[in-house]
């Protein structure tokens, strides 16, 4: 038999040429056939679903009107500059709020992990904050800050934009604090014991041993929250500043056509894609790292 023969060839002789056995070749051929079959089935089913959807939608009685109101190329081109300018505001606000919320979240998480009676007020405050602002609806926080604070008529009150940004930062900071805390607590106590036994202080242990590992571990959920923040930044338009959605609303009011909203939506998606791609990549990398750690 051939199978037997290849076994003999590959036997205990020092590096001879490798020939896969009959069984191995058969397994590979089988797998190739299976892959091809799956590919064909997937292609056909995708095509069927796609064509059906297109036929149903374009064949519907109201399609012409919907196309006119939502997918009007002319209106889209007209609206694009204004909407894009609004999006620039979203982008700047996003970067500012992301930095702010990450900072607030990390500091709050650290405050919650402090032990010892001296830190009780700080710990209590941090706990109260995460409880309160994870529960409070963002819109209400936004309204309170944007309309309430200027109502105090204090001198030096920041602009509505800054106040809205603060509302986003404190709301998201509360969520991120919990993500950071979960990361910190997921680091095994033996890591802390090893660091302290080397003479590192609590602060040095946090800075050099616990936090780097914790942040690496929670970066997928953190980035996910950034994607969510990117969308919620648009809520600031409720307070007045003209962001992408507000710009689309103004355009719509002028043309009685909803296409500007679609333009804004597409721009938001385009803006999110890089961030989502980074999130996926980081998640994948983290998963690989974890499995490497597990295999150890």
């Amino acid at each position: 038999m051939t199978a037997h023969k290849t076994l003999e060839v590959g036997g205990l002789e020092p590096p001879t040429e490798y020939h896969p056995s009959v069984w191995q070749r058969e397994r590979e051929a089988y797998r190739r056939r299976q892959t091809f079959r799956s590919f064909v089935i997937a292609t056909i089913s995708t095509a069927v679903v796609g064509v059906t959807l297109v036929l149903v939608i374009t064949g519907s009685p109201g399609w012409e009107r919907v196309k006119q109101t939502f997918f009007n190329a002319e209106v889209a081109l007209d609206a694009l500059p204004a909407v894009a300018e609004g999006l620039w505001l979203n982008l700047r606000l996003l970067v500012g709020c992301a930095i702010g919320a990450l900072t607030v979240g990390l500091l709050t998480a650290l405050a919650r992990t402090l032990r010892g009676p001296v830190f009780f007020p700080l710990r209590a405050l941090a706990t109260l904050y995460t409880y309160g602002f994870r529960g409070a609806p963002l819109i209400i926080v936004l309204y309170l800050l944007v309309f309430g604070v200027p109502g105090l008529r204090l001198s030096g009150t920041p602009s509505v934009l800054v106040l809205g940004g603060i509302a986003l930062v404190i709301t998201y900071g509360a969520y991120l604090a919990e993500v950071f805390r979960a990361g910190i607590e997921s680091i095994h106590p033996s890591q802390v014991a090893a660091a302290r036994s080397l003479g590192l202080t609590y602060r040095q242990t946090m800075r050099h041993v616990v936090l780097p590992q914790a942040i690496r571990r929670v970066s997928p959920p953190l980035l996910n929250d950034m994607v969510a923040l990117q969308k919620d930044v648009g809520l600031i338009s409720l307070a007045g500043p003209i962001d992408a959605i507000r710009a689309a609303q103004i355009e719509t009011a002028q043309s009685y056509n909803f296409t500007p909203y679609v333009v804004a939506g597409v721009l938001f998606i385009l803006l999110a894609i890089p961030l989502i791609a980074v999130t996926d990549w980081v998640t994948l990398r983290a998963a690989r790292r974890q499995s490497a750690e597990g295999a150890r």
């Binding site: 033996s190 014991a193 090893a194 302290r196 080397l198 003479g199 202080t201 050099h208 690496r216």
Partner: protein
């Protein structure tokens, strides 16, 4: 209680410690002296009234069943666990006095753990230079140089830039030992450092510890390797019920124990095939 200022290792005996024992102020040649150590976890008394002296260049091996308090004792000495009563002196300094800064004490004690506890996000070299750079404020270049010299001595220089998860268990444990040696500790605590290793990797770690003994390192070792204990120990202590039941030269404690319970423990070890 007497007061305790941070005393350098060169000025022992300036702090007499608690005066409730006849040998209270005799620290001559002692690196470590534990008196009346008591420690419980949630009502479970792990150490009761334990005394232990370790002279300079001494290698003391702690044996005893799991849960007999070997690890707890080591963690207490390193101030990783607060003791419930008793006193610990390091080089004559009372390190369990209330106002002592534990971080300063730990700088002088090295500890190696069963599970290596290397920092997985740092390379071997970074693991080793972390404490010298951050705690002892050694310039980076000097720390790296010293680390490389130590790594070369234990045959791991080619692994300096690897991450710990690329190393075998034995290599990781040797790195962990180097990580603490670089701080020139006065006392080295080894907590079952070969228990997590595959049998064929135990030897390389034990060889390294034997070399340390020959260089005069003062060590307290908790282990289940009786053959190793016999070779390396100046004194073997058998822990049972939270105190040292029997101690003496290895030939005596391991070969001809006085206490019936020591004999029973060794009998069980022999039956498990762990006594070489």
């Amino acid at each position: 209680m007497t007061t305790s200022e941070p005393i350098s290792p060169t000025t022992p005996r300036s702090d007499p410690g608690p005066g409730d024992r006849p040998d209270a102020d005799d620290f001559s040649g002692l690196v470590l002296r534990c008196r009346g150590i008591r420690k419980s976890f949630r009502g479970n008394l792990v150490l009761r009234d334990l005394d232990l002296d370790v002279a300079e260049h001494d290698v003391v091996v702690l044996i005893g069943a799991s849960g007999s308090g070997k690890s707890t004792l080591l963690r207490c000495v390193n101030l990783l666990e607060p003791i419930d009563d008793g006193t610990i002196h390091l080089d004559g300094e009372h390190i369990t006095a209330p106002q002592v800064n534990p971080d300063r004490v730990r700088q002088r004690i090295g500890m190696v753990f069963q599970a290596f506890n290397l920092f997985p996000h740092m390379t071997v070299l970074e693991n080793i230079t972390l404490a010298p750079e951050r705690v002892h404020k050694v310039p980076r270049a000097t720390a790296r140089e010293k680390a490389m010299a130590l790594l070369k001595r234990v045959g791991l220089a080619d692994k300096a830039h690897e991450y710990p998860d690329r190393l075998s268990g034995g290599q990781q444990q040797r790195v962990a030992i180097v990580r603490t040696l670089i701080n020139s500790p006065r006392l080295l605590l080894l907590d079952e450092v070969t228990s997590a290793l595959d049998p064929e990797l135990v030897g390389e770690v034990l060889t390294m510890i034997r070399d340390l003994k020959n260089e005069g390192m003062t060590m307290v070792i908790a282990t289940h390797e009786m053959g190793f204990a016999r070779q390396v120990a100046d004194r073997v202590c058998f822990l049972e019920g939270g105190r040292i039941l029997e101690q003496g030269p290895p030939e005596q404690v391991l070969g001809d124990p006085v206490e019936a319970r020591t004999r029973r423990f060794l009998q069980r070890i022999i039956e498990a095939g762990r006594l070489s």
